[in-house]
Amino acid sequence: MTTAAATTIKARQRPGDRIFSSATLIAGGLILAVLAAVAIFLLVESLPAFIADPGEFSGDTTNFWSYVGPLVFGTIYSAILALIMAVPVAIGIALFISHFAPRKLAQGLGYLVDLLAAVPSVVFGLWGIGVLAPLVQPFYSNLVDWFGWFPPFAGPVSGTGRTIFTVAIVLAVMILPIITAICREIFLQTPLLHEEAALALGATRWEMIRMAVLPFGLPGIISASMLGLGRALGETMAVAMVLSPSREVIFQLLTSQNSNTIASNIALNFPEAHGVGVNILLATGLMLFVVTLLVNMLARTIINSRKAFSGAN
């Protein structure tokens, strides 16, 4: 940012200046226009879905809201499960890189975690179904045998391991890098004097982190989690490949019947959809867009309310 003195001298505006500055202005405005266009075009194309004939919906659903209800539930359920698994681990990794690892190694270790973000989602899908699902299936059988009385673990167990719990694990791995990156930035911004004061009072390293780092980073942790939530809500291919879906609201984690998510439902059905079916899928996409937009806006507002975090992305 250039500093503007109180009495700025107006420079002569040459044609080049005008052309260039308006070009940059147009490009900047275009971004806002694109965001608005996403909302408008999705809305226009999804209008027919809201007044669609009951016969157009597959299964025994008769209107749009009963069609999208289980999908919304599945989307939020899997994303929250993923978040519960990812946030503690991400905080741990961020603390390890910022406060525990040797200084010289810290940057390289950060790159390692970032590499996880570079893996395409379709590869996560292949891995989830080819490696993770068979790996965790025996644990699921044991869980159902021993803890079947606990409603979320009720049977019958899935024979393939392609359950919403496996999906949540894959999603957790996928959102780890973004949560870690933001938490790391924020932990590194803890005022050094706070940390040293805590240590000088005789605190152990963990007590120093409890007293100085975590309270300072709390808003950042919250918004990082919400950004991760946004990613998990919208993740498509990994869910589409791993989950064995059904059309109901299902709380059980380990059965072969699982609520599908909005994004995965679109990916699975779009290639064969036609007529109003396309509009119905676009309308579910609009729901997803609105939800993720709200989550992201809330997260960014929290981040921006503390100006020091603006570098975190």
């Binding site: 971004i31 080819g130 994004a263 899928l281 989550v295």
Partner: protein, 362 residues
């Protein structure tokens, strides 16, 4: 537990009992050995088939956490014990995150190499291929064209927008753009695909439209915010003295930006652009929606369906034919190709940043 302290009330914390140096390392090795012994006994007794190495490490690490906490609590007191426990947990969290990364890369290489090394893999398409054989040439061409066009659209817009934010933008509009660029980085990729579909379906009045350029538009929606963010950071790093020196020489502002600011930050901008390419090149969902899939070559961005590498991986997996192993092999080989491309782009970007970054003397 407090009896240790009660017995010697006068010892202060500096000289109080401490575990010997390197004791945590020995305890860790010890607990791994114990757990290995337990699993080896299970293996030898025949109740499980195969020596469970993952179980050994996991169980050993849990054992270490318990052992270090108890020992440290007995010798060093509860505060120090908690510190040691948390150190162990935090380190474990980091290792846990590395496990999927290693597992993904390992399985992709092992499963992908056989088909990857087939001579026809990079020279043929899937046209008229049933069962084994064929290649991904059509998908690679499609990916290069779609991503290349997306880059051509995103870089000028993104770069100009970031110049606006850093050099010109003041007040509400700039704030709004910054905010919504951040929000846009969180748009789900499938929504971008649906947007491109809705846009072109309305424009051309074709409810079943599929073509490569639509994929480029969808990818641009995802790519522009990333380009803006990274370029903005890089432009902000250019020292103000350089701009002021140019102004003092009577250089117009637009020439200052073109001839002074951009050349200074070009390395960082190129790095950012490459990272953003690496990010969108693996996107599957939007291309599945708007670019569709085919098994033939297509060099025309503006007509007909166009195959791309991520969609190739997905369709090979999802629509397995009679000889399903051949399809799964090709899916893994496609995944390997994709990972190699992404890693190359990432590595190259970091190298460029490392070689050409201005030495700011910090």
């Amino acid at each position: 537990m407090t009896s240790v302290l009660d017995a010697a009330p006068l010892t202060n914390s500096l000289t109080a009992g401490k575990l010997p140096r390197r004791s945590s390392l020995w305890i860790l090795l010890g607990s791994w050995a114990v757990s290995a012994a337990i699993f080896a006994m299970l293996y030898l007794s025949g109740s499980v088939d195969g020596f469970n190495i993952v179980g050994t490490v996991v169980f050993g690490t849990v054992l270490y956490c318990v052992a270090i906490y108890v020992l440290s609590r007995l010798v060093e007191g509860s505060r120090k014990a908690k510190d040691r426990l948390m150190t162990a947990l935090v380190t474990a969290a980091f290792i846990i995150a590395l496990l999927p990364l290693i597992s993904i890369i390992y399985t992709t290489v092992v499963n992908g190499l056989p088909a990857f090394l087939t001579p026809t893999f990079f020279t043929e398409s899937q046209r008229n291929v049933v069962g084994a054989g064929g290649g991904v040439l059509h998908a690679i061409v499609g990916t290069l064209m779609v991503t290349g066009m997306a880059t051509l659209i995103s870089v000028p817009i993104g770069l100009l927008a970031s110049i606006y934010l850093v050099e010109y933008g003041r007040g509400r509009l700039a704030k709004a753009i910054t905010f919504f660029v951040d929000v846009m980085t969180g748009i789900p990729s499938i929504v971008a695909g649906l947007f491109a579909f809705a846009l072109f379906a309305l424009l051309f009045d074709d409810p079943g439209i599929r073509f490569g350029f639509g994929g480029s538009i969808a990818l641009s929606v995802l790519m522009i915010p990333v380009v803006v963010r990274s370029s903005e950071e890089m432009l902000k790093l250019v020292p103000n003295e350089l701009r002021e020196a140019a102004f003092a020489l009577g250089v117009p502002k637009w020439l200052t930006i073109l001839k002074v600011v951009l050349p200074t930050s070009i390395a960082g901008i190129v790095t950012g652009v490459m990272l953003s390419i690496a990010r969108v090149i693996g996107e599957t969902a939007p291309l599945l929606i708007i670019a569709g899939f085919t098994s033939s070559m297509n060099y025309d961005l503006f007509g007909e369906r166009m195959m791309t590498l991520p969609v190739f991986v997905y369709t090979q997996y999802a629509n397995q034919g009679a000889d399903s192993q051949a399809y799964i092999d090709r899916a893994w080989a496609g995944a390997l190709t994709l990972i190699v491309i992404v890693m190359l782009l990432n590595g190259l970007a970091r190298l460029i940043a490392h070689w050409f970054s201005p030495k700011l003397g910090r």
